[in-house]
Amino acid sequence: MDIFLQFDFPSILLGVFAALSCGLLGNFLVLRRQALMGDAISHVVLPGIVIGFLFSHATASWPMLLGAGGAAIVSVLLIELIRRLGNVEPGAAMGVVFTTMFAVGVVLLEQTQTAGVHLDVEHALYGNLESAIWLEAYSWRDLFNLSALSALPEDVKLLAGVSLVLIVTVLAFFKELKITSFDPLLAASLGISPQIFGLLLIVMVAVAAVAAFSAVGSILVIAMFICPAATARMLTDSLKIQLWLSSLVAVFAGVAGYLAAAFLPPMLGFDGSVSAAGMIAVVAGLLQLAAMLFAPRYGVVWRRWHLQRSS
C-alpha cells in the first residue's frame, strides 16, 4: 500500500485534477461551438512555456505559467489582427496562428537541447504524469497531515490550486456564463456583457490548459476539454446536470485511465507500463463513444430502436 500511496496516488491526483479543471470548462466550449479553442490554445502556449522554462529551469513554475499566458494573449491578438487585416475566415486565421506558434515552440525546444537543458519534445507532447512521487507518505492518515501534504510534488499542488480557483469562478459566474453561452443577445439586453464573459472563459481555458500541460501534454489537453463535456451532453439537456456529469466522467477517466495504464499491461503479461496520460484520454474517448451509442433519448442505438418500434 505504501508504494501505491507514494508512486501511484500523486499521479492519479494529477490526472484527476487535470481532467476535472479542463472538463468543467469544456462544457461551455462545447455549448458555444468553440470546442477547437481548447485545441488552438493548447498548441499556442508551447513557445511561452519553453521561454518560461529557459528562465526558471523547472517545470510547473510561475515563469512557465506567465510565459504561457503571454503566448495565449499574443495569439488571440494575432488571430484577431489577421482576421481584420486580411478578411480571413476565423477557422483559417486560427489555423495559421496555432501552427506557427507551435512551430516556434518546436524550433526553440530543439535549440534548447543544444544548451543542455532538459525539456524534450516528447515531454511537451505526452506530458509527464508518472513522474509525480510523494515519498513522505507512509499511510492514508498522511492525507490529513499538513507537513506530509506540503511535501506533495509542486505539480500536484499547482494543479490542485488552479482547479479550486476555476471551480469557484465557474460557480460564482454560473448564471452569467450560462446566459452568454445560450443567448448572447438576451445576455446583452440584461446588461451582462457577452464579450467580457467570452474573454473570461478564454482566460480560464488558457490557465487550465497550461496547468494541465505539464501533466498530460499539449495534445491530450484537448481530450480533457472535449470528451467529458461531450459525453455529458449526450446524456442530458440541463446544463447543471451536464456540469455534474462531466465532472464525474472526468474524475472517472482520470482514475480508471491511470489504473488501466499501470496495472493492465502486467496482467496481460507485458513488461512495463503504457502512457498513463494517453490511457486517460482513451478511456474518456471510450466513455464518449458509449454515450454516443447507448445514451437514452439521444444515443444512436436508442433512436434506431425507437424508430423501429414506432414504424
Partner: protein, 410 residues
Amino acid sequence: MHAFWQAITLQAGYNTALVCVGAAILGASAGAIGVFVLLRKRTLVSDAVSHATLPGVALAFIVGQLLFEAGRSLPLLLTGAAISAALGVLAVDAIKNHTRLNEDTAIGTVLSTFFALGMVLLTVIQSLQVSGQAGLEGFLLGATSGMLFSEAVLIAVAAGIIGAALLLRMKEFTLLCFDEQFAATSGYNVKALDRTLLILLVGIVVIGLKTVGLVLIVALAIIPPVAARFWTDRVPVLTAIAAGIGATGGYIGAAISASAPDMPTGGVIVLVLFTLFVISMLIAPARGVLAAALRHRRFQKVVHLRQGLLSLAHNEPVLEPLTARLLRRNGLLRGDGRPTPEGASLAHKTAQDQLLWNAYKQQAPEEALLMKDWSLRPIQEVLPPDVVKSLQDDLSLDSAPSANTLRSPL
C-alpha cells in the same frame, strides 16, 4: 551560411538535394489541395486527419515487426497511417451526422482520442524492446536527416501523383466549392467528389508525415492558400500561387534544416511559410494591407478635391486642412484662400457636373445608388452621351462642359 547556400543550390550531396526537391513537390501539392479545403471551409478537418494517423503508424510498426521483422518499412507505415486517417475522417462525419454534437466537437474528439491511442501504442512499442523504433519519433515532428534515398523518392513521386490528380479534377472541385447544388444538378456525383477531395487530403497528409511531422503537416494545407488569397480572386490563379508558396516554403525550409544542426524540418518549413504569409498580407496588390491603404488614400484625395472645388464654386471658404493642402498643391488655390483662375474655372465646371449628377439621382435613384462612381468622376466619363444630353435639356443648360475641357482633377 555556406552550408545553407550549398543546400539551396542543390550541392550539399545527392540525398539533401532530393529531400529539398521532394519537400518542394510536397509543399506544392499540399498548397493546391489546401485551396479547395479552405474554400469548402473544412480547414480544421485536416487537423483531425493528421493527428488520426498516429495509431495507424504505431500499429503498422507492431504488425510489421511481428510478421516480417521489418517494422520500419516506410510504405507499410504510410499504409497504416492512411487507413487510420480515413477511419478518423469517417468518425468525424459519423459523429457530426448521427449525434447532437457539432462538427467542432467531432473534430476535437477524433483528433485527441486517436492521438492518445497512438501514444499508448507507442509506449507499448517502447516496452517491447525491439530495434528500429527510434525512427518513429520522427513522425511526430518530421525528420529528414536520416532519410533513405528510396524513401525520399517515394515521397517526391507520391506527392507529384497527388498533385497531378488534383489538376485533372480541378474544374469539378471548383464547382463543388462554389455551388454544390449546381454541381449536383449538372450530373456530377457530389458525394463522390467530396470523398475524392478528402482522399487526396489524407494522401498528402500521409506523404508529408515523414518530412514535416503529424503535428505540423496541417500547416502545409492551411497557410499557403490563406496567403495566396491575398493575391487573387480567381481559383486557377489561386491554386497556382498557393502551390508556388507551398513549394518555396518546403524547398527553403528543407534547405535550412539540412544545413544547420538542431533545426527540425517541420518547424522550419512552417516558419518559412508564415514569413511568406506575412509578406503576402502586407504587399499583395489585390487584397494586401499596403494596397488597401493606398486605395483608401487615393479615394480620400478624390473626395476631398471634389468637395473643395464645390465649396469654391459656392464661394465658401475651404476650412478643412487636407482639402486646402490638396487644392494648393494642384495650383487651384492661392495662399490667401482665394481660387486661382484655373481653380475658379474648374470649380464652375465641377459645380455644373454636380448639378447633372444630382438630376440623374432624382431621375434614377436606384441606379445612382448602385453606382460606384456617382459624383466622383465627370458625368460624361460614366454615363452614355444621350443620357447626359437629356439631363442637360431638363436642366436647360445651354452647353454642358464637354468631356475634353472638363478634365478629371486626378
